[in-house]
């Protein structure tokens, strides 16, 4: 009996270890994104002396389509960002104008936060824009996690030199992501917390982005609600709808 359990254990661990690192990243990404999703969240920019809150509604479909609407504060309410593949537009209702943003804007801070435009509209993909390699495992916040290193592909539209992703073994959830520049210096750390049931999935509902050189500052995204695999037609992600969506 003991031999049997030992054999079973070895077989199981082999199975898991042999699981392709790319497949782990793909599954972890799918858990957070679904085929499509619709969400409401609150972003809080935190600094030692002050904080600012931004309320957001977002819609996303696959890797190509994304729409973000700001619902608060009043100053920015109604402003929207539309991404279709490699193009990014910004709707400014106050001046009644759609502004096409240059590609260099992707790595810019989004609304003064520690997240970039790319983090929000997800132009680059941790699945398709990187080579993945399983480096081992470690314990993060009591969760047994895989450590996977992501190295960008040659032609990928990314600025990071390397990403370390820590994915929980049991549910394949992103737990910790470390972003390094091309010289190998740590730039940002994202901690994913508050794993609970939301929108029918058990996922982290709180994302904290912490810049490496500014330990006292961070930006927190807290999901208020999210629905996965909702039916959103492609036409939803249009310049026409960006101006109308509420």
């Amino acid at each position: 009996m003991k031999i049997f359990t030992n054999v079973l254990f070895i077989l199981l661990s082999l199975g898991v270890c042999g699981q392709d690192a790319t497949e782990i990243i793909r599954k972890a990404d799918e858990k957070m994104q679904g085929k499509s999703n619709r969400a409401e969240m609150t972003m809080t920019i935190q600094r030692p002396d002050w904080q600012r809150e931004i309320k957001i509604k977002s819609w996303a479909k696959g890797q190509e389509l994304s729409l973000i609407l700001i619902t608060a504060p009043a100053r920015d309410k109604g402003a929207a960002f539309l991404k279709r593949d490699k193009e990014l537009w910004n709707w400014q209702p106050r001046i009644d104008r759609v502004i096409k943003l240059p590609p260099s804007m992707m790595m810019q801070s989004w609304m003064g936060s520690d997240f970039t435009n790319d983090d929000l509209v997800k132009q680059s993909s941790i699945v398709t824009d990187y080579h993945h390699q399983l480096l081992g495992d470690t314990l993060i916040d009591h969760y047994d996690c895989y450590k996977i290193v992501l190295i960008p592909k040659d032609d990928a539209p990314v600025v990071w030199g390397k990403i370390d992703a820590y994915i929980t073994k049991e549910d394949l959830l992103q737990k910790l992501i470390k972003y390094y520049d091309e010289d190998g210096y740590l730039i940002n750390t994202m901690i994913l917390k508050d794993i609970r049931d939301i929108g029918g999935r058990v996922i982290p509902t709180r994302l904290e982005m912490i810049p490496a050189d500014e330990e006292e500052q961070k930006t927190v995204i807290q999901y208020v609600n999210i629905a996965f695999d909702v039916d959103i037609p492609d036409q939803f992600f249009s310049l026409q709808n960006m101006k109308k969506v509420r």
Partner: protein, 389 residues
């Protein structure tokens, strides 16, 4: 005067009832801001500084009347007071401008020391069904692409120097638009007027190809045949935008008529640290080269014309901005005019003091070449606080 007051009260009243309606299904929305703008003019040849104050309230009211129908009213209430109001005879006529068919500008108070003006600059109905969008009423028809100069903006031109009116004026017009794709559309617009000299009717076709937005326009604008095009795209990681319009007078012998080809190209780039650069130039082939700043005297800022947003045949523009921190942004704009005779600088500091509460420090300084080198010509500095709701 009474009409203006009624409109104001009505809007506020309806806005309040919106809070009553709360969450269920929001049928109407009220937003806007209150701004206080203090101006310091250092007028040439005067020992003291002239101050000017403007208390400015904007109300944006939207009523979602029906699934397909939205009504919109936006108005600006402005109270002017200070030395400038007292020094300029009949100051009240300055804000009380009406360039449109309907006179929706009202001076509620017009004293020697205080002027209270209410102007409705948007009032329209919008009908949306499937891919169609029809707007009737005073609206902004914004066809421009660039930041500084917009040769394609044939309906309502704006001046970069008029920084305190970011919404820009509207036009009494009818606009019919059909969205033909995700980022493409066709539209036809005409302003409402009983003066044929002021008539603007034009069509705009927008399309998206090779990751570029393209647009083509044709029509008649204030006695000129207009043909133009514009684009927004990128070269590598930098944004690359352009607009050009050819204005050909219907009658060359009309007084003031001139043919011109207006071109403005721009490029912009954002560095990872947040530093933003925007460079642009404007060519206006129909204008003669003017030395110095006298050319500005020929402009009518209350009634800007796309052909004459600047009185020069060419100009260059450079803007840089940098977020010192998420609450503080520093920016600097620099505009040069022909012949090295003059240039314009515009430093600004924008601070978010609290959520929805901003403080701006703005400088507008024209320099002119004199015998001893460049001298500032009546520099103006502005302090602006703004509360948005």
């Amino acid at each position: 005067m009474k009409t203006g007051l009624k409109c104001l009260l009505l809007t506020i009243l309806i806005g309040y009832s919106r809070t009553q309606a709360q969450e269920k299904e929001i049928k109407w929305e009220l937003s806007g801001y209150v701004k206080d703008l203090r101006t310091l003019f250092f007028v040439d040849g005067m020992d003291s500084v002239v101050t000017d104050n403007l208390l400015h309230n904007r109300l944006n009211f939207q009523w979602y009347a029906h699934e397909n129908l939205t009504a919109r009213i936006e108005l600006r209430n402005r109270i002017f007071y200070g030395e400038l109001v007292r020094q300029i005879p009949r100051f009240g006529r300055l804000p009380d401008i009406n360039n449109d068919f309907f006179d929706l500008s009202f001076n509620l108070i017009d004293d020697r020391s205080l002027v209270f003006n209410t102007t409705i600059d948007r009032i329209y109905l919008e009908y949306n069904k499937n891919n169609w969008e029809v707007r009737v009423g005073r609206q902004r028809i914004n066809w421009g692409i660039n930041l500084a100069w917009n040769p394609n903006d044939v309906f309502n031109a704006y001046s970069f120097f008029d920084f305190d009116y970011e919404e820009r004026p509207g036009s009494d017009a009818i606009r019919i638009k059909k969205y033909t794709g995700i980022a493409s559309s066709m539209e036809l617009a005409a302003n409402i007027t009983d003066d044929m000299d002021e008539w603007v009717v034009a069509g705009l076709w927008k399309m998206n190809k090779w990751n570029y937005d393209f647009q083509f326009l044709a029509g008649v604008a204030r006695q000129d045949i207009v043909l133009g095009s514009g684009w927004a795209g990128s070269i590598k990681d930098a944004g690359f935008k352009g607009e050009f319009t050819w204005f050909k007078p219907l009658n060359d012998h009309e007084e003031g008529a001139f043919e011109t080809f207006l071109v403005s190209l721009s490029a912009d780039y954002s560095f990872v640290n947040g530093l933003y650069l925007n460079g642009s130039f404007l060519i206006n082939t129909g204008l003669e080269s003017a030395a110095g700043l006298e050319g500005f005297n020929t402009l009518n800022f209350d009634r800007l014309d796309t052909k004459r947003v600047l009185p020069f045949p060419y100009a260059t523009f450079l803007q840089t901005s940098y977020p010192v921190n998420p609450l503080l942004t520093a920016a600097f704009s620099w505009m040069t005019f022909p012949g090295e005779a003059s240039f314009f600088v515009n430093p600004t500091l924008t601070a978010s003091v609290f959520s929805n509460f901003d403080l701006d420090l703005i400088g507008q300084i024209f320099y002119e070449k004199k015998e001893k080198g460049y001298e500032a010509n009546s520099p103006a500095f502005f302090i602006r606080i703004k509360w948005s709701f």
